[in-house]
C-alpha cells in the first residue's frame, strides 16, 4: 500500500493522524447510528408523554369548565321555569343561546325530575333520560353527558329537575394537535371507536407506549369524564429521527473534507519530521560516497533528530580516527613486511649454507634480542627444525635447528611467524644444496664430455691417420686398398658419429658455445655447395641454385654451426633423393634469412614429420638399407638452428612427393 516514493515516516504519520482523526469520528458515527437513535426515540417518547399530558390537561380543563358552567347554569333562577314547564320558553331561549355561545357541537336539555324533557337547545331530537342515571357525567358511545340537578331557587330542598349537556366528543378534536406527522386521537377501550383520525398500532392495555415501524405511539387511559377512553399521541418515526438522519448525512458529507484536512495536516507535520531525517540521510550518503569522514552534520531541529545527528558526528569522528590509526598501523605493518621481504631477499641471496644461517640469524636479531636466538645442529624441543634434502642420499634430513627464547613464542601468531621463517630458511638451504648439487653434476658432465671428446677422438684420429697414410703412400693391392678404404671410411664415419654425439651432449649440457661473427651467408652456402658437390655428381642429381642475397650482405652468426646445419640438410636431401633435382634457395624474407631446399625425393608423410626431429629416429623407408646415419642429423640441426635463434621446418605433401626443408635465422 505504501509504495510511494515518500518516506515511510510520512506514511506512518499519515496513518496515525488518520486513525486519530477517524477513530473518534467513527465512534461518533456508530454512537449516532446505534445509540442515539434509541435516545431520540426515548426522548420522543418522553416528549410525547408530556404532550399527551398537556392535551389531557386541556381536555380536562375544558370539560371541567363546561361542567362548571352547567352547574352554574343549573343554579340560575330561570331554571325555576321547569315548574311552568317552560311555558314562556325562557329556558329554551337560554339553552339555545348558551349552546350557540359555546360554539361546539353540544345540546343542552332541561328535564324535570321524572326525566321528562322540559326544554332543549335543539328542537328536533331528544334522547330519553333516566333520572336515576343523572349524576355527574356519563359517557355513552361518542357522547359525554353532564348532569346538574336543578333546585328551586325558592326552596333549596326541592329538586325541580336536571340540566343536561350532551357533549359530542368529536369536539375534542379541537384540542388535538394533528399535523401530517402528529396524530392525536381518542381510542375507546373496546378499540372500536375513535375520535379523530387514527393510525394503526398494536394496542396493549397494559402498556403505555409502542414503537412500531412507522410511529412512536404513547397512550394514556383517561380519568375523569373519559374513563372509557385512551388518549393516543403518535409521531411519525422518521420525523422524529429526521434530525438524526439529517445530521448523519451532514457528517457523511463532512467526512471527505475531514479526511482531506487530516491528510493535509499529516503531510505538513510529517514534513517537519522527515525533512531533517532526509537531510541526515543525504548527508550520510554523500559522506559514504566521498569517503570524507571529516565532514560533520549540522541540524538545528532541537529534538531527537538533532541528537541523532550529533551522535552521528561523533561516530564519524571515531571512524575517522580509527581509520587514521589503521592507516598508521598499516604503514607500520608495511614497513615490517618490507623489512621481512628484505630479510628474505638477503637470505635468498646467500650462496652457501653457512652464509645462509649467518644472514638469517643476523636478520632475526633485528627482531629479537641477540641472546634469545641461536643456531644449533641438534633439534631440540621448542626449536624450529630446519630440514633440507640431502641429494646424495635422496632423503630429507634435519640440517639443524633455530632456537628462540620461549618468551617470544607465547603468541600463536609469533610462533607461526618464526616457524614460517624457519621454513623459509629451510627452503633456502635446500635451494643452495640443490644448486650445489646441480653445479656438481654440471661440472661432472663437462669433465666427462671433454674427457670423452679427447679420449674417443685420439684413437680414432690415429686410426684415420694410419689408414690414410696407408692409402696414399704404401703400395697395396686392390683388395688391400679396398679393405683399407673401408676401414678408413668406417673410421671417418665413426668419428663423425662421435662428433655428432658429443655435439649433442654439448648442446644438451648447454656447453655448446656460439661464436658469432660477421659473415656472409652467401659465402657460407657456396662453401657448402662446393663441399657436397661430389655427392651430387655421384648420384647424378641436378642442383638448381637460386641465391638472391647479395654478396655484401653480412649477418652476425656462428659460421661453423650455420654451415653444419646447411651441410646436414643438403646431405639429407641428396641422401633421400634417388633421381631428379634439388632446388636450393637462399633469400631474405622480412627480417630472416631463409635457406630453402626442395627435392624430388621420397618425401615424408605427415605423421612422420613429427617423428623425424626426435632423436635417434629415422623413418622406416625403402632407402633404409642404403642410408647410413645415426639419426641424430635432423635433431641436432634443429637444436643448432635454435641455438642461432632460428629454426628448421620440414614440409612434404606426402610420400614420393618430395620434401621441402626450410632453415631460417633472424637478421
Amino acid at each position: 500500500m505504501f509504495h510511494s516514493i515518500n518516506s515511510f515516516i510520512e506514511n506512518k504519520l499519515l496513518l496515525t493522524f488518520f486513525i486519530i482523526g477517524m477513530f473518534p469520528l467513527t465512534i461518533f458515527l456508530i454512537y449516532m447510528i446505534y445509540l442515539s437513535q434509541n435516545k431520540i426515540l426515548q426522548k420522543s417518547l418522553n416528549d410525547e408523554k408530556i404532550q399527551i399530558e398537556k392535551t389531557e390537561q386541556i381536555v380536562q380543563t375544558n370539560l371541567t369548565q363546561l361542567y362548571n358552567e352547567i352547574i352554574f347554569l343549573s343554579k340560575l333562577e330561570i331554571m325555576d321555569d321547569i315548574v311552568t314547564e317552560d311555558l314562556d320558553k325562557r329556558i329554551t331561549t337560554l339553552l339555545e343561546k348558551k349552546a350557540n355561545a359555546l360554539h361546539m357541537d353540544v345540546v343542552l336539555y332541561v328535564v324535570d325530575k321524572h326525566g321528562k324533557l322540559i326544554a332543549s337547545s335543539q328542537r328536533d331530537y331528544a334522547p330519553s333520560f333516566q333520572p336515576q342515571n343523572m349524576q355527574g357525567y356519563q359517557n355513552k358511545e361518542k357522547k359525554l353527558y353532564f348532569y346538574s340537578a336543578i333546585k328551586a331557587s325558592y326552596n333549596k330542598q326541592s329538586q325541580l329537575g336536571y340540566l343536561v349537556l350532551e357533549y359530542n366528543l368529536e369536539n375534542l378534536q379541537l384540542f388535538f394537535t394533528t399535523t401530517p406527522h402528529i396524530h392525536t386521537f381518542l381510542l375507546s377501550s373496546t378499540q372500536l371507536e375513535t375520535i379523530a383520525p387514527k393510525i394503526n398500532f398494536a394496542f396493549n392495555p397494559h402498556k403505555t407506549q409502542v414503537i412500531n415501524e412507522k410511529y412512536i405511539v404513547v397512550y394514556k387511559k383517561q380519568k375523569k369524564f373519559l374513563e372509557e377512553w385512551y388518549l393516543v399521541y403518535a409521531v411519525d418515526k422518521n420525523v422524529a429521527l429526521a434530525f438524526l438522519y439529517d445530521f448523519l448525512r451532514f457528517i457523511l458529507y463532512m467526512v471527505p473534507l475531514v479526511i482531506l484536512l487530516i491528510i493535509f495536516i499529516a503531510k505538513k507535520f510529517s514534513k517537519k519530521i522527515t525533512i531533517p531525517i532526509l537531510q541526515l540521510t543525504s548527508l550520510t550518503k554523500s559522506i559514504t560516497k566521498t569517503k570524507n569522514f571529516e565532514a560533520t552534520i549540522n541540524l538545528d531541529t532541537q529534538d531527537e533528530i538533532q541528537q541523532l545527528s550529533q551522535s552521528f558526528n561523533l561516530m564519524l569522528q571515531m571512524t575517522h580516527n580509527a581509520l587514521q590509526e589503521l592507516k598508521k598501523e598499516n604503514e607500520i605493518r608495511l614497513q615490517r613486511f618490507i623489512h621481512l621481504i628484505e630479510t628474505f631477499n638477503s637470505i635468498m641471496q646467500t650462496k652457501t649454507t653457512q652464509e645462509c644461517i649467518e644472514v638469517s640469524l643476523e636478520k632475526l636479531q633485528t627482531l629479537v634480542a641477540k641472546e634469545h636466538i641461536h643456531f644449533q645442529a641438534q633439534n631440540n624441543t621448542g626449536c624450529i627444525a630446519l630440514e633440507a634434502m640431502n641429494y646424495e642420499t635422496g632423503k630429507k634430513e634435519v640440517y639443524g635447528a633455530l632456537c628462540i627464547d620461549k618468551q617470544h613464542l607465547n603468541n600463536k601468531d609469533e610462533k607461526q611467524f618464526f616457524e614460517s621463517i624457519g621454513h623459509m630458511i629451510s627452503l633456502q638451504l635446500d635451494r643452495i644444496l640443490l644448486i650445489n648439487n646441480t653445479l656438481a653434476i654440471s661440472h661432472a658432465k663437462s669433465a666427462f664430455i671433454s674427457n670423452m671428446s679427447h679420449e674417443l677422438r685420439t684413437p680414432l684420429n690415429a686410426i684415420i691417420g694410419s689408414t690414410q697414410y696407408l692409402l696414399s703412400y704404401e703400395k697395396l693391392t686392390d683388395d688391400q686398398l679396398e679393405m683399407i678404404g673401408n676401414v678408413e671410411s668406417s673410421a671417418q664415419y665413426l668419428l663423425s658419429m662421435i662428433n655428432d654425439i658429443l655435439d649433442m651432449a654439448k648442446i644438451e649440457a648447454g656447453k655448446m658455445d656460439i661464436h658469432p661473427q660477421k659473415v656472409s651467408p652467401k659465402e657460407l652456402v657456396d662453401n657448402v655447395v662446393t663441399m657436397l658437390m661430389p655427392l651430387l655428381d655421384e648420384k647424378d642429381l641436378s642442383l638448381y641454385k637460386n641465391i638472391t642475397v647479395s654478396n655484401s650482405l653480412s649477418i652476425m652468426t656462428d659460421p661453423k654451426i650455420y654451415q653444419q646445419i646447411c651441410i646436414n640438410l643438403l646431405s639429407n636431401s641428396i641422401k633421400f633423393t634417388a633421381k631428379g633435382s634439388i632446388t636450393l634457395q637462399l633469400y631474405k624474407k622480412e627480417n630472416t634469412i631463409i635457406f630453402e631446399l626442395i627435392d624430388t625425393g621420397i618425401g615424408i608423410s605427415q605423421e612422420n614429420i613429427k617423428k623425424l626431429f626426435e632423436e635417434f629416429t629415422q623413418v622406416e623407408n625403402v632407402m633404409q638399407k642404403k642410408h647410413k646415419g645415426t639419426g641424430l642429423g635432423l635433431s641436432l640441426s634443429k637444436k643448432m638452428a635454435q641455438l642461432l635463434d632460428g629454426d628448421i621446418i620440414l614440409e612434404s605433401h606426402g610420400e614420393s612427393y618430395g620434401t621441402k626443408a626450410l632453415f631460417w635465422i633472424p637478421l
Partner: protein
Amino acid sequence: MKKILFILFIISLLEAKEYIVISSKTMPTLTKNQLKRIFLKKIRIFNNQELIPLNLPTNTSIRYSFEKNILQMSRTQLKAYWTKKHYLGVRAPKKQKSQEAIIKFIQKVPGAIGYIEKQSLPDNLKIVYQWDEK
C-alpha cells in the same frame, strides 16, 4: 301570538282593568298592606309556609298597576329598595314571563303568590286580593 292578542285585549279594556292576586287555596285573603309587605319580601313566611312572590315582566301594565296601587312605590324607589335589599341578601321576587306561567307556577309551587288579570282560575287556586286600575 296569543300574548300579543291578549295584551291588545287588555289594552282595549283600558277603561277598567281588574287585577287579582292569586295563590294556592291554603292561603288566606290578604290585606293590601300584607300584600305589599309580602312583595317587598318583608314577610317571608306566612302560616309556616314560605312565601314566593312572583312578578310579571318589568314593562307590563299589570306590574305598573301593582306597583302603583299595592306597593305604592315608584320604579326608581323600588330599584333603590331592591338594590339595598340585594346587599342584604334578599332578592327581588321571581319574575315570570306570562300570566299563564304565573298560574302554572302557583299551581305547582306551594307558597307562590302572583298577580294577574282577572280571569277564570283552576280549582286549586284562589284569589287573595283584587284591585282595579282606573
